[in-house]
């Protein structure tokens, strides 16, 4: 897929919107995530529920209406079957998330909020992602189905 100026502009804007909400909801703070995972505060669970509860029905409705998207043709939702990589990878992600107390997007906000150790987290994330990519390349394997990540919609029939 080619990267048009429109994609770059909207990418930047939506990234900024996403980062703004993370900062506003304090999701970049280690304490927020730590208290959630200690089951002392349930705000973040409710926040995720609110995000899914808003987007799931809307996307369902837009899919049924066969909506055409502005830049990418007919709306296409991906629904892959679960494989063992989703479970093993998910478990490893969960363990790492609990230890480093932030996930990939909030780590970027944590850094700009002034927390120096977030730089260590971000470097570690890049290392981990590349370790997995290198392993898949060595095995001539395919990347795991990633329904929430970038997809090449030109290749989908």
């Amino acid at each position: 897929m080619k990267s048009s100026t429109a994609h770059k502009v909207f990418g930047l804007l939506f990234g900024a919107g996403f980062g703004f909400v993370l900062a506003a909801a304090n999701l970049h703070e280690y304490d927020t995530i730590h208290k959630m995972l200690r089951l002392e505060e349930f705000d973040v669970f409710l926040l995720m529920g609110g995000a899914i509860g808003t987007s799931l029905p809307l996307l369902w409705w837009l899919e049924r209406r066969r909506t055409r998207t502005v830049l990418g043709g007919p709306l296409l939702l991906s629904r892959s079957k679960p494989r063992r990589e989703h479970v093993i990878g998910g478990a490893l992600f969960g363990i790492g998330w609990a230890v480093s107390g932030t996930c990939p997007a909030p780590a970027l906000v944590m850094l700009v909020s002034g927390a120096g150790l977030a730089a260590v987290t971000i470097i570690g994330l890049f290392v981990g992602l590349n370790l997995r990519d290198a392993q898949v390349r060595r095995a001539d394997g395919a990347a795991t189905a990633a329904d929430g990540e970038h997809r090449d919609i030109t290749r989908v029939p």
Partner: protein, 164 residues
């Protein structure tokens, strides 16, 4: 402590019933415009590929990646505390030295990155964008990482005698 703020417009913590639907609307909005989900793991991957000039890199994802800290900075500057220069990870720092904390955080982040790439997504990708598309793989991955994270936190709590 050095602190920089622009204007204390935002509350210390925007309530979940505003922040959750706001994230949901951003996800829907990006589908309607670009037909793409907003997973952060993929943004890291494409940013790395773009910077290293790897073949097939989706360069506009780097703009999405850069947008996150830019928007985050705006949000932080609109709070009373603003930017506070610190190490971070207070709960760990109260118990451990800076060096030990950094090593633990680094190992955790490597495991997190490896796991996210193996699972095909993280909290934003599977946890919100995938579940919202009603993807069975995303629901399985999300339930797994939520469970694993709560369990790991419990283990850390027991090992540290309740301190962390």
């Amino acid at each position: 402590m050095l602190s920089t703020t622009f204007a204390a417009v935002l509350p210390d913590r925007l309530p979940w019933y505003f922040a959750g639907p706001a994230l949901g609307l951003l996800v829907v909005g990006f589908f309607v415009i670009a037909n793409q989900p907003l997973g952060a793991t993929g943004a890291y991957v494409e940013t790395y590929k773009t910077v290293t000039r790897a073949p097939g890199a989706v360069s506009w994802r780097m703009f999405y990646f850069l947008g996150i800290p830019i928007g985050g900075l705006v949000g932080v500057l609109l709070k009373e505390d603003g930017i506070v220069r610190r190490a971070g990870y207070d709960a760990l720092r109260n118990e451990l030295s800076l060096g030990t904390t950094a090593i633990i955080v680094l190992v955790g982040a490597v495991v997190m990155g490896y796991g996210a790439r193996m699972a095909g997504g993280c909290t934003s990708g599977h946890g919100i964008c995938g579940t919202a598309q009603r993807s069975p793989a995303s629901w399985v991955a999300t339930c797994t990482f939520m469970g694993a994270a709560v369990l790991t936190t419990l283990v850390i709590r027991v090992i540290s005698g309740g301190a962390i």
